[in-house]
């Protein structure tokens, strides 16, 4: 079966984010960018399904500026077979991303679409669910285990009270949580091989989707910063402070 994986280029998770002085956004000039960590987990899961003989082909898609091709190449080096780049320099919000991915799903007809549960920049946690709704598919969000079984997929989900398993008809959408797998690193020979793998570029217009954001960001500010407090000498002083100064016990 064919598996489609969506990946997003985001600020590297180790980078300390800084808000621009004019409050229009965060400063992305000259910062390290990388594949969103949850998308890495999505790619890894697809590759494992291929290694198990469950997946036959892995198509990886990314939406965004030219530079996204770096993340597509990374996915190809990790084991995806071919890439699709939907190129746009405009800000793409979750609903439009879902519409673009829907167009790709209609062309490619994958049995399984795997996405990260959220991107660590906008922290929205929406695109996979929106894609599932628009394509009429079932969804297994926040997955910690994915087992394909004939025409169904069983997804174990990380939920507030613990774990919950659902069975979904295929085709289906899965979004990844942290415990699904531990992504591998790409080897140098595979990075070289990835350069020769096919990568198609297209525009949102080619897919018949108009980019028309419904949300506008009025301002972006730094959070109120917490002042570091004091160091206490020992446990007795700690308990005394909690009781008599902070009055929280």
């Amino acid at each position: 079966m064919k598996v489609l994986v969506a990946v997003k280029r985001v600020i590297d998770y180790n980078v300390k984010v800084r808000v621009k002085p004019d409050n229009t956004g965060v400063d992305l000039a000259n910062v390290k960018m990388a594949m969103n960590p949850f998308c890495e987990i999505a790619v890894e899961e697809a590759v494992r399904l291929k290694e198990k003989g469950v997946a036959s082909e892995i198509v990886v898609v990314s939406i965004g500026p030219k530079a996204c091709q770096e993340q597509i190449r990374t996915a190809l080096a990790l084991g995806a077979d071919r890439g699709i780049h939907i190129e746009t320099d405009e800000e793409v919000q979750s609903l439009e991303a879902a519409k673009l991915l829907k167009a790709v799903v209609e062309k490619e007809e994958p049995k399984l679409v795997i996405l990260g549960k959220q991107s660590i920049d906008s922290d929205n946690n929406q695109t996979g669910q929106m894609l599932a709704a628009l394509t009429g598919m079932g969804q297994g969000t926040f997955a910690s285990e994915v087992v394909v079984d004939g025409e169904k997929v069983n997804v174990t989900r990380e939920v507030d009270g613990g774990l919950m398993t659902v069975a979904l008809n295929l085709p289906a959408v899965v979004t990844t949580d942290l415990r699904l797998n531990e992504p591998r690193y790409a080897s140098l020979p595979n990075i070289m091989k990835a350069k020769k793998k096919p990568l198609d570029a297209m525009s949102p217009a080619d897919l018949g989707v108009e980019i028309a954001p419904r949300l506008s960001t009025l301002k972006v500010e730094a959070p109120a910063s917490r002042q570091a407090g004091i160091k206490v000498a020992d446990v007795a002083e700690l308990v005394d402070k909690l009781k008599n100064e902070a009055k929280v016990i």
Partner: protein, 313 residues
Amino acid sequence: MSILVIAEHDNSSLKQATLNVVAAAKAIGGDIDVLVAGENVGAIAEAAAKAEGVNKVLVADNAAYGHFLAENLGELVAEVGKGYSHILTSAGTTGKDFMPRVAALLDVAQVSDIIRVESADTFVRPIYAGNAIATVKASDSIKVITVRPTGFDPVAAEGGSASVEQLDVVKDAGLSSFVGEEKAKSDRPDLASAGVVISGGRGMQNGDNFKMLEQVADLMGAAVGASRAAVDAGFVPNDMQVGQTGKIVAPQLYVAVGISGAIQHLAGMSDSKVIVAINKDEEAPIFQVADYGLVADLFEAIPQFEEELKKVL
């Protein structure tokens, strides 16, 4: 304006988060209806009807909603919600699961995880793991919103007297089914709404050592949380993870034990009123946000903490 709040519950009781979401709805202003969807939810509907500020409770009681499958809830809420100006629910795992489906079915954007209401169409939400705070304006005619409960003080659970109306809308998309669940059982307070949280990190070394934290938690009536590292290592179950991609907590007192203080962890607890850090590394970043820091080996400090607490509690 008319606002539909989707109640969060587990088919046995109304979750406090629902009261926080009603508070967010009040901040927007307008009539507030609450939809309770689930199975055998009569008592929950009664509880929702007593919440302050609620106009009407709508009840969708059917096996199709018993396990909160997003495919079914999404269709239900999109249908019931299309006559409202705002649809709100809490940003717990259930809300995060079904709400974007509602937005997509209505062809509107979703505003996730709001912590403040500026006006009926403008909301404040953290992005980049809370390292930036965005003010966003939504232009769609229906605003679909998930609310971070810690951003809003709950309305009173008692005092209201809303009418209760049964809906007979049954939406079974037939795309998904419930297979099973592993629910962590605990007599301790719910992590997301506890007044005191004590969390352990990789420094705890194993799951057994969490018993030390549990003993302290029981003395203080606290919930026990964890860092991602402690969950990944298998010390404790996933539902205890606090952070950007786990639970967001803002208790009166948060005690971080053997946790370094990575930004992804801070994203989940830095709004706590008082933060205590116990860590043997005095350079650990957690001390930069802690009101009271104790540089110590936790294996010595925690038993002492328990003894000292026994003296004063």
